[in-house]
């Protein structure tokens, strides 16, 4: 078989006025697909991610942040002062030569700069422009301020996530940002396909709050159907028992185990060296195990505590039961499977050299 070596979006140019994570994650998708992405940056308003660690070898510098370097691979950077009218002229010239404009300033900022969609479509009639904002470009809260970490609670995700009986929680990352970025990429690609067929561009309004609620349908519909807010229930699942993350041997090592069926429960019991559990009627069905979930989890935890998470994973996967260690960033970086698949990139960078991304 012969493969085309030309990437899908070759020849598409993106004027990228985004910053922090959500917007840059959208343009990262486009860059990965071969678009020429030009990030417009300025000395007076340096992207937050250039100012945050990790720093290459612990030494700070605007070109040395792993956070920035990870999410801006494959892009070019144009330093431009948008507070200067001459800078705005250059920005307009760039837009005239681009296919897509992507921005995630607060609502209204691009209009105030003279770079709103109505202005820009005059110089580029088939322009596709997307704005990513916390609350969207319309509605009574469109001017509310929103930072990445606030999106998880605002969207409703925190009210559903947490240990049982504990306060609402985060999910470990500013999850609304990549979720918005990916949805934005879907919208831009659909608009590009439409433009190729019809010659029409368009404006896309993406609300981070809405694109995250889109992933919480189980919670929304539980309330819509029965008027009940699902309880925060840790790692448990309404239908699968056991379904948890269990402590293993070593310092802060854990393994996730999910038993999807009664047959998998029998396989787990055998692997645990307790075949009598497989024949115990009290645990035979998911409903029975649900009634005794604390007891079931205690039995599993007693088995995992003396073994490594890797060993538990191998034993359970050998009998078809889903299990995997709770991977740290170090575990992932050293993972043989991801290495074998060529997941990581190693490109030379003038300031930080070749790093794993």
């Amino acid at each position: 078989m012969s493969y085309s070596r030309r990437p899908p979006l070759e020849g598409i140019r993106v004027a990228d006025f985004t910053w922090v994570w959500a917007g840059p994650f959208c343009t990262l998708q486009l860059a990965h697909l071969g678009a020429e992405v030009i990030r417009v940056e300025s000395q007076s308003r340096i992207c937050v991610t250039r100012l945050l660690p990790p720093w290459a070898d612990g030494e700070p510098g605007v070109n040395r942040s792993g956070y920035f370097n990870q999410y801006n691979q494959g892009k070019r950077s144009l330093a431009l002062d948008l507070k200067n009218p001459a800078g705005i002229e250059v920005a307009r010239d760039l837009v005239a030569k681009s296919d897509v404009v992507c921005e995630n300033f607060a609502a209204g900022v691009m209009e105030r700069l003279g770079l709103g969609y109505r202005e820009l479509r005059r110089i580029k009639p088939d322009l596709i422009m997307i704005s990513l904002s916390g609350y969207g470009a319309s509605g009574p809260q469109k001017d509310f301020v929103s930072y990445g970490p606030a999106q998880v609670p605002l969207s409703g995700m925190s009210s559903l996530t947490g240990y049982r009986g504990w306060p609402p929680m985060h999910v470990g990352i500013s999850y609304g940002d990549p979720t918005a970025g990916l949805h934005a990429a879907v919208a831009v690609l659909a608009a590009l396909l439409h433009r190729q067929r019809t010659g029409e561009g368009q404006y896309i309004d993406l609300s981070q709050q809405e694109s995250l609620i889109a992933l919480l349908a189980e919670g929304v519909l539980a309330y819509e159907m029965s008027g009940t807010q699902p309880l925060r229930d840790g790692n448990r699942d309404p239908h699968m028992v056991p379904h948890g993350v269990f402590r293993c041997a070593g310092e802060d090592r854990w393994v996730a185990i999910a038993v999807r069926s009664d047959a998998e429960w029998k396989a787990l019991a055998a692997a645990m060296g307790k075949p009598e559990l497989a024949d115990d009627d009290r645990f035979a069905s998911a409903a029975g195990r649900k009634d005794r979930e604390d007891e079931v989890e205690k039995l599993v935890a007693e088995w995992t505590i003396s073994q490594t998470s890797e060993s538990i994973t191998e034993q359970l996967q050998a009998v078809g039961v889903p299990a995997f260690p709770a991977m740290t960033n170090k575990d992932l970086a050293q993972d043989a499977h991801l290495q074998a698949r060529g997941f990581f990139t190693y490109l030379p960078h003038p300031d930080v050299g070749i790093r794993q991304h």
Binding site: S4, R6, L9, W21, Q29, P54, G66, Q70, A137, S138, G139, V145, Y147, P149, P153, S155, S159, W166, I173, Y175, D177, H183, A187, L189, A190, L193, E200, Q202, I204, L206, E210, S211, L215, L216, A217, E218, G219, L221, A222, Y223, E224, M225, S226, P230, N235, V245, P322, A323, A326, M327, T328, N329, K330, L332, H337, A340, R341, R355, Q356, H357
Partner: protein, 403 residues
């Protein structure tokens, strides 16, 4: 309203649970004709997951199924039978896209062989979503959403913070690993369709959900390659306040990232004496002394109303957010004004409001056109009209349990 952006595309989806179904939903909601293929009699396991109206299980009224599969047509087909696989081949010959998340080890027996299918339909884009991808030493591993959330490295970043060593890494609500797999699959599929405009050829797109998650660890992943450090859920937050706090009724998320936001919050609280203490003078020292600061703040916040504090903070450009409950979202004036929730009647579940457009396209808007299919609802129109089967052929296939 003009033609929808993807109205010219036909998509066949062999999806189980969330990942492939969400990828196909993103295309269906922008106009693609998506034909969802389910196993006769059982259907997609999402039909068993709920939530259900009044909590009563009904495979035709599972909330997650209804959400993920609106705008699609539904047929049944048993790919384990040779006659079923032949029907699938014929169907795929009429399609631009095939999206599935059949486990790699079962693809061949389901007739999901790219070389074979693309020989009959060179323009086909086939998108395979698998927990650990189609290649590599762990391609055959079993997974669930919880297991993937851990395998991708996000769970290890989430916990109760310092001093909660006994609590496990924590998953996020719902089926988030699968949703991320579906999102990435939609991006890659649309990219391949764009490339097809130039080359006239489709291609095989492969998505590993583990990789989708390992790619969104924010700043955590690079701590290893850049500084040789392991990121942990037990670490202290670098700046504060950036935390949840209980109000009179409900919770609020306090968020002061810039110094001027903290200053505005102190002013909002009426400039209490403790706020002037040296140990709270900047965001780093507020984080270092969070145990003390938290007590002062909690004492003040506990008497506030979530909504009033949220609005007072926003009026001063402080980015606080309410910890929205599901009821809060459905009642939100803002989301109502934007027309976010979309209602549609369904013969078994009645009229329900679903999360709606995740983006508003000005020329080719997102649109909810039809409710999720009943199991096999469109067998006749697809098999008779699209594939040209005769009534008696379809009858025989149904009698044999193949459709």
């Amino acid at each position: 309203m003009g033609e929808m952006a993807l109205a010219h595309l036909r998509v066949v989806e062999c999806g189980s649970l969330v990942a492939a179904a969400y990828a196909a939903k993103l295309l269906a909601d922008l106009g693609a004709d998506v034909i969802k293929v389910e196993v006769p009699r059982q259907g997609d396991p999402t039909r068993q997951r709920g939530p259900f109206p009044g909590g009563v299980p009904d495979p035709e009224a599972s909330g997650l199924f209804l959400y993920l599969n609106a705008n699609k047509r539904g047929i049944t087909l048993d790919p384990r039978a040779a006659a079923g696989r032949r029907l699938l081949e014929r169907l795929v010959a009429h399609a631009d896209v095939l999206i599935h998340n059949v486990p790699p080890a079962e693809m061949h027996e389901h007739g999901l062989d790219y070389e074979f299918l693309s020989a009959r339909n060179p323009g086909l884009v086939m998108t395979s979503i698998a927990p650990f991808g189609l290649s590599g030493p762990r391609a055959g591993y079993q997974a669930s959403d919880l297991v993937l959330w851990n395998a991708g490295g996000i769970a290890a970043l989430n916990g109760g913070g310092p001093g909660t060593d006994d609590l496990p890494p924590l998953k996020a609500f719902g089926s988030q690993a699968e949703f991320q797999g579906g999102l990435n699959a939609a991006v890659a599929t649309l990219g391949a369709l764009f490339e097809r405009l130039r080359s006239g050829r489709g291609q095989h797109v492969e998505v590993s959900i583990q990789e989708c998650l390992a790619a969104i660890l924010e700043l955590a992943f690079e701590f290893w390659p850049y500084q040789g450090l392991v990121a942990s859920r037990l670490g202290m937050k670098p700046i504060q306040p950036l935390d949840f706090m209980e109000c009179r009724v409900g919770w609020i998320f306090l968020c002061c990232i810039e110094e001027h936001q903290w200053a505005a919050f102190v002013d909002l609280m009426g400039n209490p004496e403790w706020a002037a203490m040296e140990i709270f003078s900047d965001r780093l020292s507020r984080a270092a002394n969070w145990d003390a600061l938290r007590l002062f703040l909690a004492e003040w916040v506990k008497d506030q109303s979530v909504d009033e504090l949220y609005r007072a903070a926003q009026a001063r450009r402080i980015p606080f957010a309410p910890v929205s409950t599901m009821g809060d979202l459905l009642a939100s004036e803002h989301l109502k004004a934007r027309g976010f929730f979309a209602a549609i009647p369904h013969p078994r579940a009645g009229t329900l409001r679903y999360p709606g457009a995740p983006y508003k396209l000005s020329r080719t808007p997102w649109c909810l056109r039809r409710p999720a299919p009943l199991l096999g609802q469109h067998n006749r129109e697809v098999y008779l009209n699209l594939l040209g089967l005769e009534e008696r052929e379809l009858g025989a296939l149904a009698a044999a349990g193949i459709v």
